[in-house]
């Protein structure tokens, strides 16, 4: 009955190739076990053992998956939680992942507090190039840093400082409404330029990264009315945490003896961003202290005469002290970001009581390797430059929409949606079968229908598109129009009048109707690509991808199959 020559048709071969590519892109593995790493908490135990946070844009199946802890196999998140219970303080545990094995000393979870207005001195050894000796020498110096306290939560179980989730079973990414999480739509209080928007997003990403939250997507969105939004999607965080994290504005203050001398934004007239007067500090370079690398950066700024006068007033009564081969004032200038002290510098004696408008700002970055420290320093520099220019995030951000979806409800939606799609497909096939009473027609339609879904999902996996509820609606609609088109093809080829025509002519007729229907669907979806802050873009894009897949890949293949099946008959 089945004519294998069908497989030789170019159009069918194309369909098969696309199917194969889609399956590779989706990379399904229903037996995947273990817990995947969502984020590594900065300064936690795993971070110290050089585990790295995955990029939020990386494909799900490329994520690092923990398979065992102390040789106890980890199948899911419950196993992981149970394994954490067995950990002992100060006893090194072994984690085996699909990418390697790590030895980690577990710790209690902690929160870091910065003690305001209190600093501690820390020894830092750095490699400094000494031009007189013409070699690099180790210089140890005392650096004043803000005092920080780690508060351990000793009533909870020991932890590796990792946030994990059940290992993904395919490369498909579920939307927030299906996997649970928080989505926030932020609107800048004033209009901002594209550069400013990018700056805001960058500084938000940095802030979230500090908390080890790497599974976060921050995107700028525009809509039909020209409104600008920032969309933040975070898996697995509570509403309050998210709100606090992203809406705090970021304000910069420089203080001498606890008196604000200048602030970011209003008091700054110029910030140097070129290589001559900004970058890694060549006289200090990078160094190592204990097991960490750090690099210092510096850049020049100009402040307003009024701010310069404030600085002069603040410094005029200070004492001059000599230290480490230079003369400095007995108070430092302290930089605060969001009321947290970020850096502290000695003030040169020559600045005492002098209203200087040219100031050098410096700071540092740290990392486990020199390169990481270098990057961190440059990133911090960029952030500080932005804040100095704009005063903070360029504008205040208002939360205009906020959704939180629990993972439990999301899971229920996934299951029921799968059932729904299956039953809808069966209903369609049933209608077709009742009409044609011919399994030879109903079967190819069913096969095309399924391949269409697979290819749409494959494309979604490939471009990293999130499958959310709206996207599922889009897939159903696309597949629905696909079935319509197949009915048109079948009828156009079967119809009495067209029997005088050759096959080519019959398909041409069918496809002229199909192409118009295709153009209509795409036309109707175009406005949706731009409207409503992009929240329905998922529906629009999946519909458009879906009907395109139908028209250019599965439909021609279906026509080829129908031709083969019906040729002898009619």
């Amino acid at each position: 009955m089945v004519d294998l020559k069908i497989l030789k048709s170019g159009r069918v071969i194309m369909l098969l190739i696309f199917l194969l590519l889609s399956i590779v892109a989706i990379y399904p593995n229903p037996w995947a076990k273990g817990v995947a790493i969502r984020g590594v908490i900065k300064e936690g135990p795993a971070y110290a053992s050089e585990m790295i946070s995955p990029k939020p844009t990386s494909a799900p199946m490329t994520r690092e998956v923990i398979n065992s802890v102390n040789n106890i196999p980890i199948k899911n998140i419950e196993d992981y939680a149970a394994a954490l219970q067995t950990l002992m303080p100060n006893v090194t545990a072994q984690i085996k992942t699909n990418k390697g094995s790590y030895r980690i000393i577990p710790q209690y979870r902690f929160e870091i507090f910065t003690v305001e207005n209190e600093s501690v001195f820390e020894n830092r050894t750095s490699e400094v190039y000494n031009s007189t000796l013409n070699k690099t020498v180790n210089v140890t110096e005392l650096v004043k840093v803000p005092k920080r306290i780690k508060k351990y939560k000793e009533n909870e179980s020991l932890d590796f400082g990792l946030s994990v989730y059940n290992a993904p079973k395919s490369n498909l990414r579920l939307g927030l409404d299906l996997q649970g999480g928080t989505r926030v739509l932020l609107q800048p209080a004033d209009t901002v330029t594209k550069d400013q928007l990018d700056n805001i997003i960058q500084s938000m990403e940095q802030r979230l990264n500090v908390y080890g939250i790497s599974d976060v997507v921050i995107r700028p969105v525009n809509d039909l009315e020209g409104n600008q939004f920032i969309r933040v999607e975070i898996a697995g965080l509570t509403e309050e945490e998210v709100k606090n994290l992203i809406t705090s504005q970021g304000k910069f203050e420089a203080k001498v003896s606890n008196k604000t001398v200048f602030m970011g934004g209003t008091d700054i007239t110029y910030v140097c961003k070129t290589a001559e007067c900004s970058g890694i500090d060549p006289s200090q370079g990078c160094g190592q202290s204990q097991n960490q690398w750090f690099c210092r950066f510096r850049f020049a700024i100009s402040i307003t005469p009024a701010a310069a006068q404030r600085q002069a007033n603040a410094t005029k009564d200070l004492q001059i002290v000599s230290a480490e081969g230079g003369s400095y004032l007995n108070e430092t200038i302290d930089f605060y970001l969001d009321d947290q002290q970020v850096d502290s510098l000695r003030i040169g004696a020559d600045l005492k009581g002098r209203p200087s408008t040219d100031i050098e700002i410096s700071g540092s970055g740290t990392g486990l390797t020199q390169q990481a420290a270098l990057n961190d320093a440059l990133q911090n520099m960029k952030k500080m430059q932005t804040i100095l220019i704009t005063g903070s995030l360029p504008v205040k951000l208002n939360v205009v929409k906020m959704d939180t979806i629990s993972p439990v409800l999301g899971k229920e939606f996934v299951n029921s949606t799968f059932m729904m799609a299956l039953m809808a497909a069966i209903a369609v096939i049933l209608v077709i079968f009742i009409k044609y009473r011919e399994i030879k027609i109903a079967l190819p339609i069913a096969i095309t229908l399924v391949s269409e879904i697979v290819i749409i999902l494959g494309i979604a996996a490939l471009i990293g598109w999130n499958i959310d509820l709206a996207a599922i609606a889009g897939i159903i609609v696309a597949v629905g129009t696909g079935v319509d088109d197949q009915i048109v093809i079948t009828d156009e080829t079967l119809r009495g009048e067209s029997q005088v025509l050759n096959w080519k002519e019959r398909f041409k007729r069918a496809f002229s109707i199909i192409m118009v229907a295709y153009a209509l669907t795409v036309a109707a979806m175009i406005p949706l690509l731009f409207a409503g802050a992009g929240l329905l873009k998922g529906f629009a894009i999946t519909s458009i991808i879906g009907v395109s897949v139908g028209v250019f890949i599965t439909r021609p293949a279906y026509a080829a199959i129908v031709e083969r099946i019906l040729k002898g008959k009619y």
Binding site: L409, M420, G480, V516
Partner: protein, 292 residues
């Protein structure tokens, strides 16, 4: 059988056309009456006017009306409580819609009085909702114009293209009126469904007009041929959207499927009574002109 249907149609097609025109007018009347009564053309959901949408899963079933009464005592804002259930009909939880921006009082109330499993809160600012609604209207108009343009370019005939656009309008008016009659509040997802309908429902009109205008044969034969294809297209789509509506617990999908379903239902008479009759008279008129 086929001959009988064709004869019947030949005789009564004007009456059939009147039926669909009557429904068309009725839909407009429903919308107009609603506008006079409430000042609104459509009941806007939270996503289009601002407020909070709280979806709650409960471990034990609850009395929806009782909760609604209790909550109305707490807040002066508009508040409605609905239940949502699994495809088997068991209560999965409740959905609370309120115009209030802050849904914490709902959360507190439920946590205090009921056995809550999960709570999801969706909050949307009023100006954003307002802006979404404006964009929704603009989107529908743009989609409609684009649709009309595609049709016009394909057929290059003003009158038959106009008929198709008219039918598309009828396809939207019916679900619109049904939303008002069934007291369903339109969400952004519903807007997406209306847009989809613009592109989707006219497929059968395209099929009909192509067959009648661009093919050989007697008009009634061609109409009948198009009908036997088109009606299956619509029925298959109705089966899919109908089943999807019945089986999904998600409000978002439910509204999309409901609008598509009603649109497809309306498409049955708008295409096969209205468009067909108009097209038939048009073709007959053309023939008379040629002969005369």
């Amino acid at each position: 059988m086929k001959q009988k249907v064709m004869d019947f149609y030949e005789k009564h097609y004007r009456k059939l056309m009147l039926i669909s025109i009557a429904i068309f007018v009725l839909c407009i009347a429903v919308i107009a009456v609603h506008h006079i009564k409430t000042g609104e053309f459509i009941e806007k959901g939270i996503t289009l006017k601002g407020g909070s949408l709280v979806t709650v899963q409960l471990n034990t079933p609850v009395d929806v009306d009782a909760i609604q009464n209790e909550l109305r005592k707490i807040t002066p804002e508009d508040i409605t409580v609905k239940e949502f259930s699994s495809s088997a009909g068991a209560q999965l939880g409740i959905i609370i819609e309120t115009t209030s921006q802050d849904a914490t009082f709902i959360k507190d109330f439920l946590n205090k009085n009921h056995d809550v499993k999960t709570i999801n809160i969706e909050t949307i600012g009023p100006s954003l909702g307002e802006s979404f609604f404006k964009q929704a209207i603009i989107s529908v108009i743009i989609a409609f114009i684009l649709m009309a343009l595609v049709v016009l370019i394909y057929f290059r005939l003003l009158v038959p293209s106009g008929y198709i656009v008219l039918c598309a309008l009828g396809d939207i008016l019916f679900p619109w009126a049904m939303l008002l009659l069934l007291n369903v509040k339109l969400s952004t997802a519903g807007v997406a469904a209306l847009l989809m309908l613009i592109g989707y429902s006219v497929d059968t009109d395209i099929l009909l007009t192509t067959r009648v205008i661009k093919r050989q044969g007697t008009t009634t034969e061609k109409i009948f041929g198009a009908f036997s294809t088109g009606v299956i297209m619509t029925l298959a789509a109705m089966a899919a959207t109908g089943i999807a509506y019945l089986t999904t617990p998600s409000e978002v999908l439910k509204q999309i499927m409901m609008i598509l379903f009603f649109g497809l239902v309306a498409d049955l008479w708008n295409t096969w009574f209205l468009n067909t009759a108009l097209l038939k008279s048009y073709v007959d008129r053309k023939k008379e002109q040629q002969n005369g």
